[in-house]
């Protein structure tokens, strides 16, 4: 604190000589009160922040521990957006809470396992880049059939 006060005195060129003593004292005391308020706020906020910081890893670990416990699609969306590069998209429907899938995003065969679990419940998984689309029934076709353009050009020539 005294270091900051010294800096305040230096920056504001305060002098404690007889004729400028009043001004200097008032300036320093105002500075102290202002900073004391900030310190008080910091002292109040810091424990709260520390508490939150201590809770956050625990909550993250809770998701990891869910590896063996299936979670809803909505929960999976939160987990994936928070801890992986994947983003999960799905259409919200009634009774969607009943769909339960793996949360073990750390495992190597996570996508395969997720796709299998969804297919067992009548849903499909489509991966496009880092985006995962979950749809009821058939999955999205993301690639055209092989030689699609060649067939198109042949037809055009025949015509």
């Amino acid at each position: 604190m005294k270091k900051e006060i010294r800096k305040h005195i230096r920056v504001n060129a305060l002098s404690f000589k007889e004729d400028t003593m009043d001004e200097a004292m008032v300036s320093v005391l105002s500075f102290i009160d202002k900073n004391m308020n900030n310190i008080m706020i910091k002292r109040l906020v810091m424990p709260i922040c520390l508490l939150f910081m201590s809770i956050l890893p625990l909550s993250a670990e809770n998701h990891i521990f869910l590896s063996d416990n299936p979670i809803t699609l909505d929960s999976l969306r939160v987990v994936l957006s928070g801890y992986t590069r994947y983003k999960l998209y799905f259409i919200k429907e009634k009774n969607q809470e009943e769909i339960k899938v793996t949360a073990d995003y750390k495992s190597k065969n996570f996508l395969e396992r997720l796709s299998y679990e969804l297919s067992q419940q009548g849903y499909s998984l489509t991966l496009m880049g880092n985006d995962i689309y979950v749809l009821k029934g058939e999955a999205l076709v993301t690639q055209l059939p092989a030689g699609y353009f060649e067939k198109q050009s042949c037809r055009a020539r025949v015509v």
């Binding site: 604190m1 005294k2 404690f16 007889e18 004292m25 005391l29 102290i32």
Partner: protein, 197 residues
């Protein structure tokens, strides 16, 4: 004999009437400040002196005073720091009045704030009297200005009336009051000690 008694009675009656007229004219001019302007005439310094016995300027500045629980605004005030007396100037009647210290609470002279400490503080370091309130937040800082009267012999005019030089010397003390106690601030070092860690 009868004539002399009658003359005496007439004189007394006229005296009473003139006193009543004076009072009426005073009340008319003083208006709502009449309670403030009732008091002693301040001490007149009828000698040549160097410096001033007032705390700051010689001129009377506009200020507010809480006197006997009532606020009087826009009155001309000045502080005699030699006798530690607050003086109010009645512009209408051109009179100076020394306020009764036991009724003065707080007052301002220009932009400066003052407080009347009625009793000695807990530490026993601050005497009762008028103090400038420099700062009042987590700590309070009081400034006491005392004008000390001094006489010195002038060697050049020692045989004449100008042989004695009369002057008022300014003495300033600062008191910082915080939760730890009271500190007398004389210079930067003592102020530094009084600052909380």
């Amino acid at each position: 004999m009868k004539k002399s008694v009658l003359l005496l009675m007439m004189l007394m009656a006229s005296g009473l009437m003139s006193a009543q007229d004076d009072y009426k004219s005073f009340m008319d001019s003083a208006g709502e400040n009449s309670a403030l302007f009732k008091g002693y005439t301040p001490v007149l310094y009828r000698f040549v002196h160097t410096g001033t016995y007032y705390a700051f300027e010689k001129s009377y500045l506009d200020g507010d005073v809480i006197y006997n629980g009532k606020r009087y605004s826009g009155v001309k005030l000045n502080l005699n720091s030699h006798l530690d007396e607050l003086i109010v100037f009645d512009v209408k009647s051109n009179r100076y009045v020394q306020l009764n210290k036991s009724y003065v609470d707080t007052f301002t002279i220009g932009t400066r704030k003052f407080i009347n400490l009625m009793e000695r503080d807990k530490s026993g370091m601050i005497d009762p009297g008028y103090y400038q309130l420099l700062y009042d937040n987590s700590v309070s800082v009081y400034k006491k200005i005392v004008k000390v009267y001094s006489e010195t012999v002038n060697q050049e005019y020692i045989a004449s009336s100008r042989g004695v030089i009369k002057k008022f010397i300014t003495s300033v003390k600062y008191y910082l009051v915080n939760s730890d106690g009271t500190y007398v601030i004389k210079r930067k070092k003592t102020f530094w000690i009084s600052i909380p860690k």
